[in-house]
């Protein structure tokens, strides 16, 4: 390790202002602080600092995402096996899914980090680590058969127009990963919905080739409910399947259990707010119950609340997207309101819109817009209370 440190110290002058590699300064600093904790010491203010920094925070979020990602990879293979009627065993199933998902992760990171590095260098700033999380979220919230070029275009759009133009990490109004998803959704609707995109039926790098079995449908449960003409719908999956995650859907969203593990990691480490997370579920459940009683006579409206919460991107969005501290409400009271509205709005969109089955993405993006307004009123309430204090003293 000492040798590496010495080597870095030796090449460092090249990257400083005036050095021959100064154009890569941010990149060098990025890698240096990736390898070693920066040992710059405090100049003014407090003399000691907590060990946490934003790199650590992002690392914890990525660790929390891993169970859902790994399960998602397995489920890609599992759904493929169902489609072609094969059973190559656990490892081959996982490897099939791994190979199907990996290129998406690489494309998302290469495009997103490429833009971040360039912008950081251009603004002569440190590379910020916000995209480390966005970059892994993006492949997890798209259907498995999304073409790589679409992911590249959408990622570039989101990073530039949803983040960098606002000033970079911490200044964005919308959740970057969700903007990517929304861009894909509106620009390439046929690749994002329907009953063809959720399960990969073709081979991956020559693996798992086979004929699709007769009568196979790759529709998601919510998609089935949406097109059902009756008010009740028989799913080909049990509720257990939905909780474990053996259903078609975006790569990372299907397993409630894997997402719950992630949620526990986020809550135990104090990274995500339990207030936001909890109230999203409460909001969703309440809204589903309201529709059960007073909603239209459609399958989505009559679906029990626990199925609403387990299906589609609801749980994933509640745990990993709604809790994004930058784009959600930042006041403690605001978090309850924000969460309740995200949950309720997701169910309202699911039930009442005529076109597409899922509502979580739009619900969160919509509430991203309202989060500052919610905070504004919470802060105003505090101001009013403080002014009352003056009156009481008089």
């Amino acid at each position: 390790m000492k040798a590496l440190r010495n080597y870095l110290n030796k090449i460092k002058p090249n990257f400083e202002e005036g050095g021959k590699l100064a154009m890569f300064r941010s990149v060098f600093e990025g890698f240096e602080s990736f390898l070693y904790v920066p040992n710059a010491t405090s100049k003014t203010g407090v003399h000691i600092h907590d060990s946490i920094d934003s790199k650590r925070t992002m690392t914890v979020v990525i660790i929390a995402l891993l169970p859902a990602l790994l399960f998602g990879m397995y489920n890609v293979g599992y759904q493929h096996n169902l489609a072609i009627g094969a059973n190559p065993g656990f490892w081959m199933t996982f490897i099939y899914g791994f190979l199907a998902v990996l290129p998406k992760i690489i494309v998302s990171y290469v495009v997103g980090l490429g833009i971040e590095f360039t912008v950081a260098q251009w603004k002569k700033e440190e590379i910020q680590e916000g995209f480390l999380v966005s970059g892994i979220l993006i492949p997890m919230i798209v259907p498995v058969d999304t073409p790589l070029w679409m992911i590249a275009v959408a990622t570039a759009f989101a990073v530039i127009f949803a983040k960098e133009v606002f000033g970079g990490t911490g200044y964005n109004i919308f959740n970057v990963a969700l903007v990517t998803r929304a861009f894909l959704f509106f620009a390439y609707p046929t690749a994002m919905s329907g009953d063809q995109v959720w399960v990969r039926t073709a081979d991956t790098f020559g693996m798992g080739a086979g004929q699709v079995v007769d009568g196979f449908s790759a529709a998601t449960p919510l998609g089935i409910a949406k097109v059902a003409e009756t008010s009740t719908v028989e799913f080909p999956w049990s509720f257990e399947d939905m909780v474990i995650g053996f259903i078609p859907g975006s790569i990372g969203e299907t397993s409630v259990i894997a997402i719950a593990i992630g949620a526990i990691i986020l809550l135990v480490t104090n990274i995500a707010s339990w207030k936001t997370m909890f109230s999203v579920f409460v909001g969703g459940a309440l809204m589903a119950l309201i529709f059960n009683v007073a909603g239209p006579d459609t399958a989505t409206a009559q679906m029990p609340w626990y199925e609403h919460l387990a299906l589609g991107g609801f749980a994933f969005g509640a745990v990993f997207m709604a809790t994004d501290p930058v784009t959600s409400a930042r006041t403690e009271t605001g978090k309850y309101i924000y969460g309740l509205l995200v949950g309720a709005m997701a169910i309202i969109i699911r039930v009442l819109n005529p076109g597409y089955p899922e509502g979580m993405m739009l619900a969160i993006l919509l509430m991203n817009v309202f989060a500052p307004l919610i905070d504004y009123y919470v802060v105003e309430a505090n101001i009013k209370q403080r002014l009352n204090r003056v009156k009481l003293n008089k």
Binding site: T41, S42, V46, H49, S51, I52, T57, I271, N393
Partner: protein, 448 residues
Amino acid sequence: MANVIKIKKGLDINLKGKASEVLLNGGKSATYAIVPDSFSGITPKVVAKVGDKVKAGSVLMTDKNRPEIKFVSPVSGEVTAVNRGEKRKVLSIVVKPDAQQEYEDFGKKNVASLSADQVKESLLNGGMWPFIKQRPYDIVATPTDSPRDIFVTAFNSAPLAPNFDFIVKGEEANLQAGLDALAKLTKGKVYVGVKAGSALNLSGVEVVAFDGPHPAGNVGVQINHIKPVNKGEVVWTVNATDVILMGRLFNKGVADFTRLVAITGSETTERGYIKAIAGCTIESLLSGKVLDNGHIRMISGNVLTGTKVSMSDYLRAYDCQVTVIPEGDDVDEFFGWAVPGFGKYSVSHSYLTWLTGKSKEYVLDARVKGGKRAMIMSNEYDKVFPMDIMPEYLLKAIIAFDIDKMENLGIYEVAPEDFALCEFVDTSKIELQQIVRNGLNLLYKEMN
């Protein structure tokens, strides 16, 4: 004990290097100095000239805008230097002490028989006034103001802070005299914030006990819980350690700046208290008591609000503590963001240290441990900010120079020190105390 106020939010950082309650040798300083930068809201006007002979209590400088505020020499001797920096800013006024100390005679006085104006005059002439600060703005108080109340904090809850109960031993009469003097200066009350369970026996003042983690000992937190400052009101704040010096001025008739200074921190070899005079050199306190490996940080004050100093530098006026911690600039921590992190101190549970229990003592160095970012995490500051104020929004109002918002969100109640813990826990490593200081200065300029 009248009433106990329980503080829930906050944080006690359990650092290694607490001072044991023993007196150590030391404190004989080759020079003494006044450092104008340690007083806020002051424009120094140097009165003494190099070569002047001064007594303990002779005026060295005054405030240009409020010339009645005098800063006096802590010792008798010869003024050897007036050090200036850029734009002729006064850095320090240095006095070389005589072998035999002589004091200006201010006359013994019975506080009870003095009027408010006489008390004020005595404190101003005796050089004790700069110890009185005011909220709003957290600056040296303006003598012509009449404060709503005066708040005295009689304990320090900061990491490794000296124990006031030990400092006050044998000084009880001086403390009481000082409090009596302060009581003359306000039509309201003098509130003394003590640690819950303290045996301090005081009369003529309102004693309020506080229980809970740091910053329970911060006077700002105490004011907010006892009787908050509203727009248009002025309150004064004093540390009880400085009230003792005020009492001495009346009881002995001299400006005697002798105080107990705690020697603390993980990089010290001997820890305890030293009897020293304010303005002494750091060397006189720390010489022979530190593990000097070239990578230590010496601090006048505590690790959260103190000033970085060197051996040749001086103890700051308000400080009763020096702390020595590792600088940390020679540490290379490989893949710090990825390791499980047992033993790395963090309030968040993102390092596994929290599993090792609360009684463990930590050695923290001066590294920032991360890059500066925009405010990303929410609710970090609130958890260590026990006031009826929204810290994040107040800070944002200050950053945006939004004066109305600053007022509405409570800037008149706070001092930079109240944000020290927020700065410590901040994931984004923003220098919050500096932001608050800038905001207070800006507001002071706008209002006056």
